[in-house]
């Protein structure tokens, strides 16, 4: 089995080489390269070894002579004697000469290529290919001959391309250069990314561990202050008296201060009355307010915002001036929290900080500011917001009038109605509608001609709520002219509510498909209830 496999492998190798030589030969045909063939005998007679080529001497003798003394062995049943496979042609020639001189027998030297018999032409073609493909270098052998005895000669005798040639080929291959460049770039970028991520992850893990530890260390002393000491006792303590009860060696660490502030703020949110005062007092006594104010000098927006939030939560009123410079900051979070803080800690009854906003107010900001203003509405002059140059602030002002039920501002709104923008008009109409401000009705009819769908829908709602039977005339006119489904539906609903008899007379027999659909919709009891 083993021999069979070995034979197969050899066969594949030989065939592959032959295929290689043949394709090489055919490829060579296309190229105009001059090649001078050297007769194989010249090389063999010089005693050179050819890679893959071996020789075998065979002789047949008529008598029972013993040729074993001549490096020959008997093979087969006949009187055929053969030599071992020999690497050098000259060795085979020497045996041949000896046998010829002794027994006067010719014999035959056979050439083997990878242990397969090959004729002279085949051997010559093989040799030519070796030379052509620089797998056999004649010059190297000749130079080596001139330096017999030197170690380098042995190296030169190896009939392969020298390494430096490969190196040159690698460097001249453009694809290889590009690939190596990419690889280097990629490896560099990957290393940088891995290092950055590793550093961040390690820092985060360490920070999380420390924060957990610091929280545990803060919790007990803070609880003791809250439940075992009165407000007066804490007032009488100085900084060192309080620090005594806390881990002193950590008090200078910024992270510990941050954790401490966060714990105080967290407790402050959940506590009431005297407890809140105690927490704020501890915050001040420990001079954590200084740490908070330092954050306003930071370059990172989130640190500045954290500082502003802390000022807000701990009512650091003396920081008002410092926070003021952030109210029109380009960063949304800094700006939003700065305004929210000033609304909380300053005595700005006219809400100037809001009225003077340069950036448009987002809904998110409006939500936050509304939450703050809601609890202090009696002290605030919301009307001042209506005079702002910023349209979004004016719109917010009108919303506040609606949310906070400031009926006294309705006359002012009505006065502004004609010159107001569409966004303001929408909010004004909602206000008038909510508070049933009947004086607004006359102004609103004109709005029905607007192209703004929301404005029209809000006007129809107001007419529906505050209008009279006479209002249906305007709504009928509107229904005739509009092609907007939603607006028509709203107008029909209003007519149905204001004067059902007119609605029936006009729409119950309508040939218009849309009007029929809406008619059925309005009369559906389930839809009327949900």
């Amino acid at each position: 089995m083993y021999f069979k496999a070995k034979y197969c492998a050899k066969w594949v190798l030989v065939k592959s080489l032959l295929l290689f030589f043949m394709t090489s030969l055919s490829a060579q045909e296309d190229e105009i390269v001059e090649f001078n063939s050297i007769p194989i005998e010249e090389v063999m007679l010089k005693g050179r070894e050819l890679p893959g080529v071996r020789f075998l001497y065979t002789v047949t003798i008529p008598s029972q002579s013993d040729l074993s003394g001549y490096a020959l062995s008997k093979s087969g049943r006949g009187n055929i004697w053969t030599s071992d496979t020999l690497n050098f042609y000259l060795d085979a020639l020497a045996i041949k000469d000896t046998v010829q001189n002794t027994f006067e027998l010719e014999g035959e030297i056979q050439s083997l290529l990878f242990d397969e018999k090959i004729d002279r032409d085949g051997l010559q073609a093989y040799f030519d290919n070796l030379v052509r493909n620089e797998l056999y270098i004649l010059e190297a052998e000749e130079e080596a001959e001139e330096r017999i005895g030197e170690l380098v000669v042995l190296g030169n005798k190896i009939p392969f391309k020298p390494y430096y040639k490969l190196k040159i080929q690698v460097l001249t291959d453009i694809r290889m250069i590009i690939l190596i460049t990419f690889l280097s770039f990629f490896v560099l970028a990957a290393i940088i990314l891995v290092v950055v991520i590793f550093v961040i992850k390690t820092k985060k893990r360490n920070r999380d561990v420390l924060v957990r530890r610091f929280k545990d260390l803060c919790y007990e002393p803070l609880s003791n202050f809250l439940f075992e000491h009165s407000l007066e006792e804490i007032q009488q303590m100085d900084k060192y008296g309080i620090v005594e009860k806390l881990p002193k060696n950590l008090m200078h660490k910024p992270l510990f201060k941050d954790v401490m502030i966060q714990e105080i703020i967290s407790l402050n949110k959940n506590m009431k009355g005297e407890f809140k005062q105690k927490l704020k007092l501890i915050y001040r006594k420990l001079e954590l307010d200084k740490h908070t104010l330092q954050k306003l000098e930071a370059k990172r927006w989130d640190i500045i915002t954290t500082g502003i939030v802390e000022i807000n939560e701990m009512d650091v009123v003396e920081a008002e001036g410092k926070v003021m410079k952030f109210v029109n900051h380009q960063n949304f979070y800094i700006r939003s929290n700065a305004v929210a803080t000033l609304l909380n800690i300053s005595n700005d009854t006219d809400l100037n900080v809001l009225a003077d906003q340069e950036y448009p107010l987002s809904r998110w900001q409006q939500m936050i500011y509304y939450r703050i203003i809601r609890y202090t509405k009696d002290k605030r002059n919301i009307g001042h917001l209506l005079e702002s140059k910023n349209q979004s602030v004016r719109v917010f002002g009108i919303k506040l009038i609606r949310y906070l039920g400031l009926i006294d501002q309705l006359e002012k709104l009505l006065g502004m109605f004609e010159i107001a923008s569409e966004a303001e008009k929408i909010e004004m109409i909602r206000c008038f509608n909510l508070f049933g401000f009947i004086d607004s009705l006359e102004r609103v009819y004109a709005v029905l001609k607007s192209d703004n769908q929301t404005l029209v829908l809000e006007s129809i709602k107001l007419i529906e709520n505050l209008g009279e039977k006479i209002s249906t005339t305007a709504l009928f006119e509107f229904c005739k002219l509009t092609s907007d489904f939603e607006a028509k539906k709203a107008a029909m609903r209003a007519i149905y509510k204001l004067d059902p008899s007119i609605f029936e007379a006009y729409f119950s027999e309508s040939e218009d498909e849309v009007e029929n659909k809406i008619n059925l919709h309005l009369k559906d009891p389930v839809l009327a209830n949900v």
Binding site: F186, L361, M367
Partner: protein, 485 residues
């Protein structure tokens, strides 16, 4: 002569492949950095957000949740109930039955005491016929509207839902998705925060729910799926959502919001004519058309993305279903790019035309073709013997380690940002998948992508000649829809 030409082609192709690989690597490295910056900013912003306010504030926008359902009788009632319990004040739930052949309608009627109404249906977007619109007699279910219509596909069902909706924002979700109770408040935030630009759409992350423990409609215990394909999709979703879409959000170049969980400005959706039912990539197509509309109208806008884990869905773990899904995704991508080829490489469309479109066109759409040609090229080189072993090994090492690096980063992002998969065994298992994915799964994904290309060429998916020409303007979709129907 022949030999010379062959050599030139081989050289040029080799260099082109190298450049293609280089730009892929460069793009993904940039995406990695951009997504890291965006994620960092998002986590920092989250520290200053109080979501409880959003639930009750009168300033918060109103939301219509639209969930199309086809043969979902098994879970439709449970899912509708789950949607109605979300923490938000101003919202409605519209379930659209897209001509189901099972007992979905009967179950809904029975469970919610629904009755057929004379609802004045306004087909502002053309859809298949609506059979009936139901409302509940029980006031507890006042938020629910159930639309029963003829089968017309997901996009058509969504369009019917949009026609019925009345709120400012529409949330299009798959009815089988599990939504976190605070999903509406968190998704509403980008709509509320923007000051100078109109937020036209906001996308969310889809989590893999297979094998996870779900309690009261929320995933309480994260576990990776048992199958190789399931685990692969966990990593793929990390890569796609936490890296890809975060990076595109930073550039305001997001072109795709998952159809399973996307929020849209209703006004803009109506302006562009809603979803396009003739494409299988309706989610991507809508976003591209909305963006195109805003660009053509020269209105400042933004497409937002919320990376918080808010929505979970079961992913297909069978090869057959997954292959169909990938085939569909590929066709959807090709169709969308084909429809909107006008914007490609057109500076008039800003980031959309000059960055997003070319990226999708070169890397997402053409990737399977390029990879296949690359493999064939390599094989040809090996056969002809004109190939350096060093080169082959170097190229292979580069691509393999790059793939491993990107996938590892996506897991790291998840760990740094949310750390939901706490079990070390799960993490080890995901890391093993990363190592074998390039050999075992990626070739299949490429094959499925190629089949998508082939199916597109065959016209699978109901494409007509007219659609292949693309729209001249974003709003022209409405005319195309009408003519197709």
């Amino acid at each position: 002569m022949y030999s010379l030409l062959f050599d030139i082609i081989i050289e040029v192709l080799g260099i082109l492949f190298l450049l293609y690989s280089f730009f892929i690597i460069l793009s993904y490295l940039i995406i990695t950095v951009l997504s890291a910056l965006e994620m960092r900013d998002h986590l920092r912003k989250n520290k200053f957000a109080d979501y409880l306010d959003v639930v009750t504030s009168p300033v918060s926008p109103s939301i219509s949740i639209i969930a199309p359902a086809y043969n979902e009788g098994l879970n439709i009632v449970q899912n509708a109930k789950s949607l109605m319990t979300l923490h938000y004040s101003k919202f409605e739930v519209i379930i659209v039955n897209d001509g189901s052949k099972d007992d979905s309608v009967e179950k809904m009627i029975e469970s919610f005491d629904l009755v057929k109404t004379d609802f004045a249906y306004n087909p502002s977007i053309d859809t298949k016929a609506v059979r009936a619109i139901y409302k509940s007699r029980n006031r507890s279910f006042a938020k629910l509207t159930f639309v029963d219509k003829e089968n017309g596909g997901k996009a058509d069902a969504l369009n019917a839902g949009i026609n019925v909706s009345t709120m400012e924002i529409i949330a299009c979700i798959d009815v089988d998705c599990i939504l976190s109770s605070d999903s509406l408040t968190r998704m509403a935030r980008p709509f509320m925060e923007e000051t100078n630009r109109k937020v036209i759409a906001v996308g969310g992350v889809i989590g893999v729910a297979n094998n996870c423990e779900v309690k009261d409609g929320t995933v309480t215990d994260y576990r990776v799926p048992d199958t190789l394909l399931g685990k692969f999709q966990v990593i793929e979703y990390f890569r796609s959502f936490l890296m890809g879409r975060m990076a595109w959000t930073r550039l305001n170049g997001l072109m795709l919001i998952s159809g399973a969980f996307g929020f849209f400005n209703r006004e803009v959706v109506l302006k562009v004519g809603g979803y396009f039912p003739q494409t299988v990539g309706e989610d991507m197509e809508l976003i591209v058309r909305m963006r195109r509309y805003m660009e053509e109208e020269k209105k400042p806008y933004k497409v937002g993305f919320v990376p918080d884990p808010l929505c979970w869905t079961e992913v297909p773990e069978s090869e057959e279903i997954l292959s169909r899904q990938r085939n569909r995704w590929m066709r959807g991508t090709i169709e969308t790019l084909q429809l909107h080829k006008k914007i490609g490489y057109n500076p008039k469309y800003g980031v959309l035309g000059m960055i997003s479109y070319p990226f999708w066109s070169i890397y997402e759409k053409s990737a399977p073709i390029m990879e296949t040609i690359g493999v064939l090229y390599t094989l040809a080189m090996i056969i002809t013997g004109d190939f350096s072993a060093i080169y082959l090994v170097a190229l292979f090492v580069l691509i393999y380690f790059f793939s491993v690096l990107i996938s590892s980063f996506s897991i790291l992002y998840e760990q740094l940002a949310y750390n939901n998969y706490k079990n070390k065994k799960d993490l080890r298992s995901l890391l093993k998948v990363i190592l074998i994915e390039p050999f075992l799964i990626h070739p299949k994904v490429v094959w499925w992508g190629l089949k998508g290309h082939w199916d597109f060429l065959k016209g699978k998916g109901g494409w007509g000649v007219m659609i292949r020409t693309g729209f001249k303007k974003a709003v022209e979709k409405q005319d195309v829809s009408v003519s197709q129907n």
